[in-house]
Amino acid sequence: MPVSNSLTVAGLEQVGDVTDPEYHLGKHTNGGQGSGLDFGEILPDTDVLSSLLLDGDIITGERTGNRTWNLVTVVLGDDRADLAVKVNAFVQAINQDSYQVVWTPEGCAPSVFTASRATFAVAKDFAKNGELVAEVVYSFETGPFARSLAPTSTGVSATGGPSSLQVDGMNSGSFLAGTLDTSIKYEGAGSCKLASGGTQVAARVITSTDLSAYAAISVRVRAGTNVKVNVSMTLTDNAAHSAKVSTGQSHLNTGWTLIQFAAGSFIGVDLAHVTRWQIVVSTGTGHFWVDDLRAFPAASVGNSTPEGTVLTVPAILGSARTPVALAVDRSGMDMSSLLLHSPPGGQDPDLTILAGLAFDAVVVPDANMNYDGTYSVIAFVGLSDTADRTITAAFTQTAPGGITEVMTLTVPVTGTQTMISLGEIALPLFTTPSENVGCALQIEIASDGTDTFTDVALCDTQGQTVLITDVLVDAKSFYVDEPVPTVGVGPVYASTTTDRTQAVSAIDRALISGGPMLFEPGDNRLLVASTSGAPNVTVTYTPAWLDEALV
């Protein structure tokens, strides 16, 4: 870490006086270093929804515009000719399609911004030039988010990787705060009903547990009504060191909401020897319950079929969404198809987006059908017909009282198929409030030929999807890379080995939508599947930040 602030523009240090003393950040007439370094504002880049009845306007969408930087650099020369050389070198450096700006506050991590070509002006001030000083006034745009300097990787074996660890199932025994409730529970034999009052608490001493290998600690929380509260978790180690982490405002209801906390947030606690937990809900009316205190590794299997897996990738670092690079393989075995899908942030972690079929059908229970969007339907083919035929996906949603709604998608196909995209459907077919827990969704795939089907996947159109149904040569690994700043999507490679040494482009055989694969800060889901068998995946990303990087 540097002992002073540092600003590097296109590789030339402006602040810090360490590597490039001939360049100094000057004071802009509108501000500049004298008044503090201004990154510029992040502005929403979306349309405005105006309402006839409601007051005010609503800015919709998630797109954000660029930041605009306005800087002045003072250039010092050894002589007049040297001054000209240095000025030219600097303006040449910022006159590129893309370059980096690195801001490193004293004692903090570097924040990397991707900048685009600058506009600049060099004042011809004879007096200053005579003093071997020149000023370059320039302006450039950067992307809205800063990035950390170094990437982070996390990998998981989809077929047998590390699973989550239940720390406390709250099935029996007594609690330091709260009482055992065997009538209301998320799983097992019971849950902990929090002691009532304005601030409600549940706590228990547990056998010393090693949570050091896990990335996130979670708990299921239930309320008696729809409320918005703060939920915090405190962990204590065997040396009585404690740390409390809060979520901020969380919406709770009569269903079981998963609340997760990054393990790295419990600063000062020896996670290898956790002996006590405490959950505090403040400030809500009515009762609250907690259950299933659980630790998650860097990525774990949410649900799986023989062909695919929905991974839970918790505690993604950063405060802004970031592109990710994916490497997929089957431990040396071939893959004839590939489906990768990153759902949009906020998708219910229990939502069924991949389901195995029994006799070409599956019934999704209410707890797993909190759909709220438009989904592409993809059927995985077991045994493929080759003649012209029609594939049909029938969705039947039922509710208590005999209410039924049916919607079908059909698509004509011909030839051998691996994965068939049947089109898009908005789900649920009819909406219900969270208190209605009696619904179910049946999905049935049918062919008027001889095809059989093994799975159905539902890919949210607001997320990102990469679908390869027809590889030129069976691949042992696939790679989906992060794009460079000047393009919209990165390359997609397939390799006949388990590394990149023989990888070649497979992007011409891919269907890509949603832009580059993205993760949001915190918890994410990732669907990875192949009709050849469930693959393994390694996720690599560089954390993104709304302001300065923290790591």
Partner: protein
């Protein structure tokens, strides 16, 4: 950041797929569809060197726009306009029908014999998946090759009782049928779609036709009420050949059914996320919405619907969609839309 929907081009007939998002930033993507017809136009910008050359943007290549796991729009690439920022555009796949002559099986055949005309066009490269059966008209005035396939589709569709609509989807599957009678969507409109107008509002249809005897006759069909006065329209169906009187009357009644009873919207609706719902109440992704479906309009200001009473549900068939990907705004025109771009458009049907 890149566009949410990604764009590719392929060589004619498929193959050699190149993702434009992998070559540069694609911005300003928008695409439109019509009913009848299908994919209409698409446009976008790319940041490229003015001298850049690549087969990916060679005019004539097939264009696809992907959303989710589907290609939702297909067309043919126009010649790009180079500059600091390149302007690219494409014509929708439905326009393919304008490029193929309506050739029947032999010189004595009719250009309105869709079964033979389109099958023959497929043999010459049209590339559509055709339905199992086609509507027919009795025709003696359109010999083989006298018109193009799009004109043949429009004339045969409009000549049905009630009128039918043809549409080609992104998979190049052709459907011909009546416009939907039942609503499957709900539009929560915060603007009244330009209000209502009496333009093209009809109370009395004078049908001109060739009777079974070969004589040119007229018959007038009238609405049961005229709340805004009398509006007459001449419907000439002599091109359909010899018709019994009953069929001529039915054609007039069918025209009244779609053009009478209430005023029309003057402008399309501007729709943002959350305003367009399924009939079950679920908001739909506007990028995936296509015309040719019926929706109920719920206006925050009922008076601007121009309804005579509150009882009727304002129900429309979506006739035109234009989706701006960057802003997420859908422009939604109805088959009641009296704007010039629809009534004079290449896919004018019997709306």
């Amino acid at each position: 950041m890149s566009s949410r929907l990604c764009v590719f081009t392929e060589q004619v007939g498929g193959g050699d797929r190149i993702w434009l998002d992998g070559l540069a930033i694609v911005a300003g993507l928008r695409y439109s569809k019509t009913y009848p017809g299908g994919a209409c136009t698409a446009s976008w910008q790319m940041t490229l060197n003015a001298l850049a050359r690549h087969r990916a943007w060679a005019p004539g290549r097939e264009v696809g726009i992907a959303c989710g796991a589907s290609t939702i729009w297909r067309g043919d690439l126009d010649n790009p306009t180079r500059g600091t920022v390149w302007q690219l555009s494409a014509q929708g796949g439905a326009a393919d029908a304008k490029r193929f002559a309506a050739l029947a099986d032999d010189d004595t055949g009719s250009a309105l014999d869709l079964a033979s005309v389109l099958t023959n066009a497929n043999g010459r490269g049209l590339g559509w998946t055709l339905p199992g059966s086609f509507p027919t008209v009795t025709d003696s005035t359109s010999p083989s090759g006298s018109i193009m396939c799009d004109e043949a589709l429009a004339e045969v569709s409009a000549g049905q009782t009630p009128p039918q609509f043809w549409s080609v989807d992104a998979n190049r599957v052709l459907t011909i049928g009546e416009s939907p009678a039942d609503s499957s969507f709900i539009l929560l409109a915060t603007t009244p779609g330009g209000g209502r107008t009496l333009d093209q509002f009809v109370t009395d249809v004078i049908v001109i036709y060739q009777a079974a005897t070969g004589v040119i006759k007229t018959v007038t069909r009238s609405a049961t009420s005229r709340p805004f006065g009398r509006f007459e329209y001449v419907l000439d169906i002599t091109a359909q050949g010899l018709l019994p009187d009953v069929q001529a009357e039915a054609a007039g009644d069918a025209y009244l059914a779609t053009n009478g009873a209430r005023a029309k919207f003057t402008d399309p609706f501007t729709v943002t996320a959350g305003q367009l719902l399924t009939s079950g109440g679920q908001p739909v992704d506007l990028a995936t919405f296509s015309p040719g479906v019926r929706f109920n309009v719920i206006l925050t200001d009922p008076d601007s619907a121009g309804e005579v009473t509150l009882a009727p549900v304002v129900s429309c068939v979506a006739g035109f969609t234009d989706y701006d990907v960057d802003s997420g705004v859908l422009t939604l025109g109805t088959t009641d839309y009296s704007g010039d771009s629809l009534s004079s458009g290449m896919f004018a049907g019997a709306a």
